[in-house]
Symmetry: C2
Subunit: 345 residues, 2 copies
């Protein structure tokens, strides 16, 4: 049969022919196999470099029994710092190891998520970082069981290591802060209980209420998928209820963005009309007037941990593999001007 149009690219066969060795030897030399005479290996590598040889990642990955050519990065959204910052950092760190990162957005849709997971395995990804959708399908769960996975922000109940924010602790602090200022009517805006972090946060804030001598059951609660739009709606729902809360605790990055917008639109003066605690990293929480009291989450730290864990998971050394389960990053309460004593205290 006629050879298909050559891409003009040099391949192992070219190198082998040019050096008078076999393709196997070339392959070995290029993969740092010790089974090649060092000087020969060096000569091959030099020649490959000179000829501008770039191995075909597809062929390599298809052929090799194990390949680290690709990993998947699966998140519900990426236009919010919680995801974009982590995506960037992971792509960077992984590229150092010669791994390319395939980015997919689920939009928090379980069907879409499953489809994308299938497509990712079809691309023979070595592993993936995933921030599961709210109602992950059983098929997705099964699929994830068959491949190295690091969870991010949210847990889906699979056996895998994950990087999460240690919200419960800081919530004690935040609620204590508000209670200490004299607030009794504290409203809570958070993520749904169906989300692992939503459940943890709600539990944390309820516990914190009790610890602060307040009745958790009296606390106004609004839970919603983490989008800025839902943050806005949450503000309206909570502040329009009677009796109106004197303090609002928002636990969720995207929700906090919408909250800040909506609170401003409603013309509320902070902290006189309302004490506000938000959540996340955005630098601009500090630019607001007054600067917002924030539960600060270091997304860059999350990123570093996630990338490292995935790398270790894919590495040769079994001892370096991270244990399944949560690996927590501790957020920090930054008290600023948006919290103060209640006006009608």
């Amino acid at each position: 049969m006629v050879r298909r149009a050559r891409s003009g690219q040099v391949g192992v066969v070219d190198l082998a022919r040019e050096l008078g060795v076999s393709t196997a030897t070339v392959s070995r030399a290029l993969n740092d196999s010790r089974a090649v005479r060092p000087e020969l290996a060096e000569r091959i590598r030099a020649h490959a470099h000179e000829r501008g040889y770039v191995p075909n990642r597809l062929a390599r990955a298809l052929s090799a029994s194990v390949s680290r050519a690709f990993v998947g990065f699966v998140v519900p959204y990426v236009d919010t710092p919680a995801y974009s910052a982590v995506a960037a950092e992971c792509a960077r760190l992984l590229s150092a190891g010669g791994t390319q990162m395939i980015l997919t957005i689920t939009e928090n849709d379980p069907e879409r998520e499953l489809r994308q997971l299938r497509e990712l395995t079809a691309s023979r990804v070595a592993g993936l970082v995933i921030s599961p959708s709210t109602h992950m399908l059983p098929e997705s769960r099964e699929l994830l069981a068959s491949i190295p996975v690091v969870e991010l922000h949210r847990a889906s109940g699979i056996t895998a290591p994950g990087v999460f924010s240690d919200d419960e602790r800081v919530l004690d602090e935040a609620v204590g802060h508000l209670a200490g200022l004299g607030h009794r009517a504290i409203a809570y805006l958070g993520t749904p209980e169906a989300l692992s972090n939503g459940a943890a946060r709600l539990q944390g804030v309820r516990h914190a209420m009790g610890a602060a001598g307040l009745d958790p059951d009296a606390m106004a609660v609004h839970l919603a998928e983490p989008t800025p739009g839902n943050g806005r709606r949450g503000v309206d729902a909570l502040l329009d209820a009677r009796p109106a809360p004197t303090a609002l605790l928002v636990v969720g990055g995207a929700l906090s963005i919408g909250t800040a917008q909506r609170v401003r639109e409603r013309g509320l003066r902070l902290p006189d009309d309302l004490s506000l605690v938000v959540y996340g990293d955005p630098v601009w929480f500090a630019l607001s007037d007054p600067p917002l009291t924030t539960i600060r989450v270091s997304y860059s730290e999350h990123a570093r941990r996630a990338a490292e864990m995935l790398t270790d998971l894919l590495g040769e050394d079994p001892d370096a593999r991270p244990a399944p389960g949560p690996h927590l990053v501790v957020p920090e309460l930054r008290v600023a001007g948006s919290t103060g004593p209640p006006r009608h205290g």
Copy 2:
């Protein structure tokens, strides 16, 4: 030779055997080739679906003469809305066409950029969206000439369609606004001239100064790579110079973020101590106190255009292919509270 451990996955050979047809026919049916009897094709597709067949994208891409399995998305950073929003939207739109997006970060380093472009071609990407680094290497340029490319935000001088912001026009408006308020000492903080958008912006603002009856050469100028850190430093450099400017025009998203921070840190009251115009999309420019007068760029529009153009570029229809050269998205001046008459007018 012994068959390697079967992955348990069904493949075309399995399907072919089970249906008593050849792998070629299966492949044809699965690829909607018209050269298969419709009912047979349907039967094959049904069976494939039933068996949960998922084609190996690597094998497909390796084998096929042309494949749309992967595209690359190459940007200097991704932790800023100008890139993260576009990345998300592109990944979403492309996945609809069965294409996966490989995300790579150059950190604006030309060497890193070249390496990543090589690796991307090694993955046989069908095309790519790129926001070139400031000093792209000739090798990178060559490489880009051999593959469908859409430029984003910045142009690198190659022959390719690109999506850019139409800054020159809006700068006339912005400078006119400031001049109309009585400002004569306007300082400009922007991106370097080595960056296509930097050159266009500087030219635009100089032209605008002239049009407003001001001397472009008297304008204080500070140019720097678009990072928040450089925005902060730029503020210091421009405001500490004497005579101090009464207005500051920042043209660059990342620079604007740093600017907003630094201006606040310096305790400046806007617009009394300084009139400030920033650039970008961030919702929080509106949350600042006072809300910042902003040159608003719709990154989501950029994203849509870029994804569409890449899709069309890769499509069958030659008539749908976007023409090389700039495709402009028009930003909009949003006057808010950070601009007013100069105090010492």
